[in-house]
């Protein structure tokens, strides 16, 4: 708990100096690769459509003819009402769903199926209950055949970053919902994917826990410079995190704009005229009157 507060604070007051922090040698291993990573982890959707067949025989086009490019290092928030295709969009990039038409590229490669280069934080609880916390975080490394000492080093590092070192040997059943979400976050970052996909990862958490985890997420993103696609139905969450926000509706991208708010995004920044304007626009896309904003920020799906 204590560590998490520290790291989330760090992300808010150190802002762009994180890069300096990293090169100062504070972190090692996976995190160090930021500098020498192949620069192109762009995600490109090229005229992608996904059509599902419902069990009653109806066809549903979840996303239709979507073109989208997410640049390396961007933190793209995807917002939209429930059932409008957000999860499908993410699953197509993850490789869990094959596009019915079009193609998906990561860097220069067209992707087919899942791969460890794209990590996912799932909407539901995907922490394995039969693995202790540390083994959950190290699962992806074990799959890759990383040896135990190296694995333990990386796992320890990420457990510390999300503030869970003290429960490394615990079973997931002994953790709160918020702690389990941290396990999921640490698991994905420990895997060092090129692209990180998060599907309303904190949607089921209480307000305070969610704020903390948003801090953890920002911190890790700033440390690692990953490309992140972050699905949320929470406008405030998007405003807090995103470098760019798209609105998905009816299977299309309805709106796509950068968010140029300064960081840390404190009360003042989030009350600036630009923030107010962005919030108003996003809420109207969701079919809500502006002013209901603070209430929306706290709804759970």
């Amino acid at each position: 708990m204590k560590t998490a507060r520290i790291s989330s604070q760090k992300s808010e007051d150190s802002d762009s100096s994180q890069a300096a922090n990293i090169s100062a040698g504070r972190t090692t291993g996976a995190l160090q690769s930021l500098g020498d990573r192949a620069p192109n982890a762009d995600v490109r959707l090229d005229a992608v459509s996904v059509t599902f067949m419902r069990s009653n025989g109806d066809r549903v086009t979840a996303i239709e003819n979507v073109d989208l490019t997410v640049k390396t290092g961007e933190l793209l928030c995807v917002i939209g009402r429930s059932g409008e295709g957000k999860t499908t969009l993410l699953n197509v990039v993850a490789g869990l769903v094959e596009p019915s038409e079009g193609r998906v590229l990561v860097g220069e490669r067209e992707i087919h199926g899942t791969g460890a280069d794209r990590g996912v934080i799932f909407q539901g609880d995907a922490v394995y209950p039969w693995m202790r916390v540390a083994d959950n975080v190290g699962f992806g490394l074990r799959v890759k055949g990383v040896r135990r000492p190296e694995r333990e080093r990386v796992v320890d590092e990420y457990l510390e970053l999300v503030g869970l070192s003290h429960v490394a040997k615990s079973w997931p059943r002994e953790l709160s919902g918020g702690m389990r979400s941290r396990v999921a976050v640490a698991s994905v970052f420990a895997n060092d994917p090129e692209v990180l996909l998060a599907d309303e990862p904190f949607g089921a958490l209480d307000y305070v826990t969610r704020r903390r985890l948003q801090g953890v997420m920002l911190d890790l993103w700033q440390r690692t410079g990953k490309t992140i696609l972050f699905v949320t139905h929470d406008v405030e969450e998007a405003l807090l995190l995103a470098t760019r926000i798209i609105v998905v509706g009816g299977g299309h991208v309805l709106d796509d704009r950068p968010v140029n708010l300064a960081r840390p995004r404190d009360e003042e920044v989030l009350a600036s005229s630009e923030a107010v304007e962005t919030r108003r626009r996003l809420l109207s896309y969701l079919g809500l009157e502006p002013g209901a904003g603070s209430a929306v920020g706290q709804t759970n799906e």
Binding site: A116, G119, Q123, V143
Partner: protein, 313 residues
């Protein structure tokens, strides 16, 4: 009053101590024993064709029927064989029951073990491949519908009066139950857990080894507990039909000559074994599901009660 160091035994507290779980269990046993004795001495006092009471009292069971168990001892270890003119001894009775039990336990564990291992292997194979599923699934589900006991005579015809027959019969029943349990459990592994493994780059093999297998462990354990119980039932049937040794053989003799006391004694021994093996397996395999959310409570409770929780049965 609430500060009094020793509280008087109020009627309420007395009532409370009489309905505590342990007291209740003891009271039930005493009640059963008393009822049994009343029935044996006053209600059903008829003597059967074998010259034994058809509802023997507890003292008759403990003395006469138990001593007669030595008739099934063929001599040795310091106890004579009554069948060859020796006297009936309590040692002989113990030896007869012990050697019969040994034979029955052997068949039970061989059969249940064989059935479980094959059931798990077949179940996993069928879950893994569409081809195997279409070939194997419906015949096994059909066999599941056939009452096991109805097949016992068939196994006797096929295997004759042999140990192998009994083991195969028990194994068959265990296999079918295990197979159905495994296929079902694999089908219930949450999709998000499989999806996670795929996105972390796991191969099919790795998914089986690290996701599917551990997640079906609770179901496997439940299956073992079920087939241990089933195994004893099938063991009785198999031994009564055609075996040279075992508790079922004693049971079959006793039944044929209407030795009611001995039938009751052997039934009681079966009961004890079935319960004991159930709890032993439950206790021994508890560690395998220590991660399971249901165990958070069970573990804490265990400190206060010796009786293992039945939550996962």
């Amino acid at each position: 009053m609430s500060n009094a160091p020793v509280r008087p035994l109020s009627p309420r507290r007395l009532a409370g101590s009489l309905i505590s779980p342990v007291a209740l269990r003891l009271e039930m046993v005493v009640l059963l024993a008393v009822t049994w004795e009343l029935v044996a001495h006053y209600a059903v006092t008829r003597i059967g064709t074998s010259g034994e009471p058809i509802f023997p009292s507890l003292e008759y069971l403990a003395k006469d029927s138990f001593l007669q168990m030595s008739n099934y001892w063929s001599g040795g270890w310091g106890a004579p064989s009554p069948g060859n003119g020796g006297t009936q001894t309590y040692l002989g009775a113990v030896l007869a029951l012990a050697s019969a039990s040994f034979a029955s336990f052997g068949r039970l564990f061989a059969g249940v073990g064989l059935g479980f291992v094959l059931g798990v292997v077949l179940g996993l194979a069928v879950s893994a491949s569409k081809a195997a599923r279409s070939v194997l699934s419906s015949p096994v589900h059909f066999l599941r519908m056939v009452p096991f006991l109805a097949l016992a005579p068939l196994f006797e015809v096929w295997f004759g009066k042999s140990d192998i027959g009994a083991i195969v019969f028990i194994g068959y029943g265990s296999l079918v139950v295990t197979f159905v349990g495994i296929v079902n459990a694999v089908g219930l592994v949450p999709a998000v857990q499989l999806a996670r493994a795929r996105t972390e780059g796991a191969t099919r093999r790795q998914i089986y080894r690290w996701v599917i297998l551990p997640s079906i462990v609770p179901a496997m354990r439940a299956t073992i507990l079920v087939i241990i119980g089933l195994g004893w039932t099938l063991d009785v049937a198999a031994e009564m039909l055609g075996a040279q040794s075992g508790l079922g053989v004693i049971m079959e003799y006793a039944l044929r000559f209407a030795y009611t006391g001995r039938v009751i004694l052997v039934s009681f021994v079966y009961l004890v074994y079935a319960a004991a093996s159930f709890y032993a397996v439950q206790w021994l395999t508890g560690w395998a599901i220590r991660w399971h959310p249901s165990q958070a409570k069970a573990r804490r409770r265990r400190r206060f009660s010796v009786k293992p929780a039945l939550a996962l049965k």
